[in-house]
Every structure is written in C-alpha cells, then in structure tokens.
C-alpha cells in the first residue's frame, strides 16, 4: 500500500448560493520515502489539497487512504488522532507559541498523544535530539521571539517531527525567509527525506520545488506531472 492514495477527490466550497469546485477529481499516489513538491499558482487549490492530504480538511467526495486508514469515514476526533500520529505540519508563518520555550514548542504534539511516564521521557529525549539535529540544542530554553525567522522555522520542523510522523507536510515553508535561509530549511527537509521521511512541500517557487524528486503541478483543481 502506498502512504497516500487518492481516488477522484473532489472539494466543493459553498459560499452563499455560489458553489466553487476547488478540486475536480484528483487521483494521486504517494509512496513512503518520496519527496514531493506540489506546485501551483495561488487559488489553484494546492493548499486545499495539502489540507486534505494532512487530514486538516475532508474531501467532499472521493476516496482517500492515509497510512492504511480510510480517512473519508473518520470522525473529527479520529482525524485529530491521525494528524497527531501520522502527520507533521510546517506552516509559512511558523506558528510557534510566544509564551512557551523552544523545547516546550517542540513538545506540543506530545501533549495530545496520551504518552505518560517513560514514553513521555523518551519524547523529551527525542525533542532534544531533534533540536541537536537542526542545530539549536543550545536554544532550548529560549523564547521564539529571541530567534531569527530561519531558526523559528527549524523549531517548527522539529515540532512537526517529534511524534515521528509518516508524513511531513510543509506549506510554503520558506515564504517568509530570504533565499539563503530558505535553502538551509530545504536542506534540512532533504536530509529528513534521506533519513526515510516522506516529505510533501507545497510551493509556488520553482527553486524550492527543485529540491524535490517528484513535482506535481496543480491547475484549476486538477493535477499534472
């Protein structure tokens, strides 16, 4: 089984009387270990597609299987659990909590796992390892506003990885960063991919897409490769 399997996924938004079909029947397979870039102009539906892949949103129709679970039939709570265990998100705006330390931010997903005792300790160990991996081990007690944009995004990547998800989803992860910092971030994502993580990056920037080994274009709600 592939990690992600989409069959004829459609997404329709209703705004008053107007219906807008954002996704018009997407068929997509992503195998474990792939590094995929989804490219498209704004309004093409790429973020909607990413949200559905990451179980933040559900399709209006069609079949979607993620990590051997039939997602289309799951409840809100079950979707939360899938996100918690199988998906790590990285957003354009980092979304770190200003009132928590770097380490606490990284540990956020472990709050919702129900880990206790020894597993909680191992989560903390893992978080510290991840901080080491991204080169921020000395900053674990810092607050996000004491870090640069690139460093903040690295913390966000560590947060996305702390529960060891199958899939790392990044929505314009370099949108707020200069090109040098952007390439640092993309290097980290590549490294994660080489270590076996499945990575999906959504971007409109061809330079960013070059890091991926597979590029999917989305236009008017349909995909092309």
């Amino acid at each position: 089984m592939p990690l992600c399997l989409m069959e004829n996924i459609r997404k329709i938004y209703r705004i008053g009387d107007i219906q807008v079909e954002i996704l018009k029947g997407i068929n997509l397979t992503i195998e474990r270990g792939e590094f995929v870039a989804i490219m498209g102009t704004s309004g093409s539906g790429k973020t909607t597609l990413m949200n559905i892949i990451g179980c933040l949103d559900t399709a209006s129709s069609g079949r979607y299987v993620l990590a051997d679970r039939e997602v289309s039939t799951l409840t809100d709570d079950e979707l939360s659990q899938i996100r918690n265990e199988h998906v790590g998100f990285v957003f354009q705006n980092f979304y770190l909590f200003p009132y928590a330390t770097v380490l606490e931010n990284v540990l956020l997903p472990t709050l919702y796992t129900g880990y206790a005792g020894a597993r909680q300790d191992s989560a903390k160990k893992r978080a510290i390892e991840l901080l080491k991996l991204i080169g921020l081990e000395g900053r674990s007690r810092f607050r996000p506003n004491q870090l640069s944009g690139g460093e903040q995004q690295r913390v966000a990547i560590a947060r996305a990885l702390v529960n060891e998800p199958d899939l790392l989803l990044a929505d314009e992860p370099t949108g707020q960063l200069d090109s040098k910092t952007a390439s640092e971030i993309m290097d980290i994502l590549s490294r994660m991919n080489k270590q076996g993580k499945t990575v999906v990056v959504v971007t409109h920037d061809p330079h960013i897409a070059e890091y991926a080994r597979r590029i999917i274009y989305i236009k008017d709600g349909l995909i092309f490769e």
């Binding site: 933040l56 009132y99 709050l111």
Partner: protein, 404 residues
C-alpha cells in the same frame, strides 16, 4: 489523566502570559465574589445573633405585653393585664412552670450617697432571674417572702453598679429610689444590649409588690407577663390557647383586635431578620449584579482572547488536539481564573466586613459556608461564562485557524 494534567499546565501558562486579561478577569470576579461572600457572612451573622438572642430570651418562653399590636414603646403601652389574669393562667396552664409578672418604670432617679442616676426600675417576683435565665452573680436573689412582705430589696445591673458604686461592693448597701430606701441584695450578671440597642445592665429589679404599692400606687395592672413552658414543642399551640384565654377573660368580642401582644421566639427572629434584611437585600442585589458583570467581562475577554489566539488553536488542532482538548483548556483557563478571583474576593470580603462592622456594628460571621458559597459561585461563573468562548474555540475549523 496525564493528558488532562498537561492541558491544565497549558491553561496555567496561558493565564500567566495574558496578564492584562488575567488582571481584569480577576478583579471583576473578585469584586463580585467578595460582595456575595459578605452577604453570606452577614446573613449568617444575623441568624447567629438572632439565635443567640432567642437562646437568651428562652426558646420555651413567651412574653405577653399589655396593649395591642399598634406598636407603642414598651413604657407607654396600655396596661391591660391584671394580677388576676396571672393567677388564672397559673391555674389553667399546667405546663407553664414559670408565670412571672413584671412592671416597670422608666427614668426613675436613684441615688447613692452624692451620686444620682436615672434608671429603669423593674418590679417582678423572685422568679425574675429564672424567668429570664439571668443569674444573680453576687449576693443573693430576693425571696418570695420579700415579695409577699413588700420588702425594700433589689437586684442591680452591672452597668448601674459602675455608675453608682464605682469599685465599691453594692451588696448590702442602701440606695434611694425616688424617696424610698432600698437595700441591694444581689448583682445581676452582665447582659449587654437588647436587639433594639437598649442597655440591659442599666436597671434595678425590686419586688413587684413593692413597686406597685410604694412607687406606682397601683393595685391591679402589670405591664408584662413572662411565661415559660415545660413542653417547648407545644409552644405555638400554647400561644393560641393563651390568646383565646386572655381574649375571653378581657371580654373582647370577635373581630376586635387583641388588647395584649404575645411575643414569641419566632417573633424575635422575624424582627431581627427584618432589621438586617434590608441591608442583605441591598448587598444581594449589588453582589448579583457585580457577579453578572464579572461574568460578562470574563466572557468578552475570553471571546477576544479566542479570536486573538486563533492561530494557537489552529496549530493545536493541526498537531492532534481534539475538540474536547481545546474546550477543556479554555474552560480550565476560565475556571482557574475565577477560582483565583474567588479567593481574592474572599480576602477582600474579610477586610470589607471589618470595615462594615466598624461602621455599622453589623453582625458578620465568617465560616466555611461563606467560603464554600463564594468558591462555588466562582466556579459557576467560570464554567457558565467560560463555556461559550471555549466552545467557540473548540469549534474553530482547523483550516480556518491556520489560514493567514
């Protein structure tokens, strides 16, 4: 369980970091809770005082005053109760173990050596001290013989002792009541003030016969009558029986009002509650309004906070928080805030009541009850007014919360 503790920790962090919101919520809840706490304490104090007074009055006792209920001051009441009435009551009511007549004269000049003082002279029988559960602490009570023999003997209140005798022992000394010399044989224990604020220790009690004949020139009427029953549980039946009995003896036709007033412990509680009731109602309304205002302040600040923290909620949902985790976190924030507010309010209440006691001599009694009521109400406010914002936070769609 562990998950809940972790989420509670998140709530505490948020409370700590949104200081301005915390401050305003806390103040508004604290003020509301403090006024409610004062009310509870005041009500409790009033009841406690009422029961103390009833205990002193005697829960098995009645006081029958001459004159109808059209409330005149005790001293100016019509005299309608006769010595014959008293004998008849004694004979008819078997369970009445004490039937003690009383009569009184106000502002009578009493002098000892060169000191003069205007006081209340009470005439009663040797059962006076028993009838009012008011022991003689020095010397001795006067006796039945003193009453039958119209002896010039008396018991004196503590306050008057100080006024007339200073540090001298009054027992055995003679005072002049108007022009009549009376020997002080005993001193009554200290009794404080009546609910109406009258100093009860400012009096001399002498045999009723002596007072009627020698001071009042009266042979028939007394002012009041004290009755104590052995069967306390039937007290309220006895009131009705006594009423009917006295009406018949006084020949009052049906439809006419009584020419006497029966005061029972219930009556006293009613009076005391009415006395403090208006202040309690006023404080109650203020308290409830301030609590409701506190609730709305809380709800509004939380709604604002939910809007401000949309991204936080979105990211929490994205990393796997369930709706109920978000709901629980925000409810926790609100309940922790109101609980702290409640405690603060309780402390404010203690100070406020000191002030109130100082200004108005208002009986206030703090107990765990006031504390529990305050704490309970702060939870009600926390949950009641925190629920809506928390629900709104929980119902945010994750994709909308991470957009922007």
């Amino acid at each position: 369980m562990d998950r809940f503790f972790k989420i509670i920790t998140q709530s505490i962090k948020a409370i700590h970091s949104f200081k301005l919101r915390t401050f305003f919520c806390l103040i508004s809840v604290a003020l509301g809770i403090s006024s409610i706490t004062v009310i509870v304490a005041a009500t409790e104090g009033a009841y406690k005082k009422a029961f103390e007074i009833v205990a002193r009055f005697g829960p098995d006792s009645l006081l029958i005053l001459g004159g109808g209920e059209e409330a005149r001051a005790v001293g100016e009441r019509q005299k309608t109760i006769t010595l014959d009435d008293i004998e008849a009551i004694k004979e008819t009511f078997d369970s009445a173990y004490l039937v003690v007549p009383m009569t009184a004269m106000r502002e009578i000049t009493v002098s000892y050596k060169d000191k003069k003082y205007q006081t209340l002279i009470v005439g009663s029988t040797s059962d006076y001290s028993l009838a009012w559960s008011w022991p003689v602490v020095e010397g001795s009570d006067f006796t039945e013989d003193d009453v039958n023999g119209l002896k010039n003997v008396g018991l004196i209140g503590q306050y008057l002792v100080k006024e007339l005798f200073g540090n001298e022992n009054p027992v055995g000394k003679y005072v002049l009541i108007k022009t009549i010399p009376v020997q002080i044989v005993g001193v009554l224990s200290e009794r404080g003030t009546s609910p109406a604020g009258e100093n009860l220790d400012d009096r001399i009690v002498i045999p009723i016969t002596t007072l009627m004949r020698k001071l009042e020139n009266e042979t028939k009427y007394v002012r009041a009558l004290r009755v104590r029953f052995m069967d306390q549980e039937n007290l309220y039946n006895h009131i009705e029986e006594l009423r009917a009995f006295l009406r018949k003896r006084h020949g009052i036709p049906g439809g006419e009002p009584d020419d006497f007033t029966i005061i029972s412990p219930k009556e006293i509680i009613k009076f005391l509650v009415a006395l403090t009731g208006s202040l309690v109602i006023f404080l109650g309304i203020t308290g409830v309004i301030s609590l409701i205002v506190a609730g709305f302040v809380l709800a509004n600040l939380f709604l604002l906070s939910v809007r401000e923290r949309t991204n936080e909620i979105g990211i929490r949902r994205a990393v796997g928080a369930k709706k109920r985790d978000i709901l629980f976190q925000f409810l926790c924030e609100s309940v922790i805030l109101t609980t702290v507010g409640g405690f603060t309010g309780f402390i404010i209440a203690i100070f406020a009541s000191r002030l109130l006691k100082y200004i108005a001599e208002f009986p206030i009694h703090f107990s765990w009850k006031a504390f529990v009521v305050g704490l309970f109400l702060s939870w009600v406010i926390g949950i009641g007014f925190g629920l809506q914002p928390a629900k709104r936070a929980a119902d945010l769609k994750p994709i909308e919360a991470v957009r922007r």
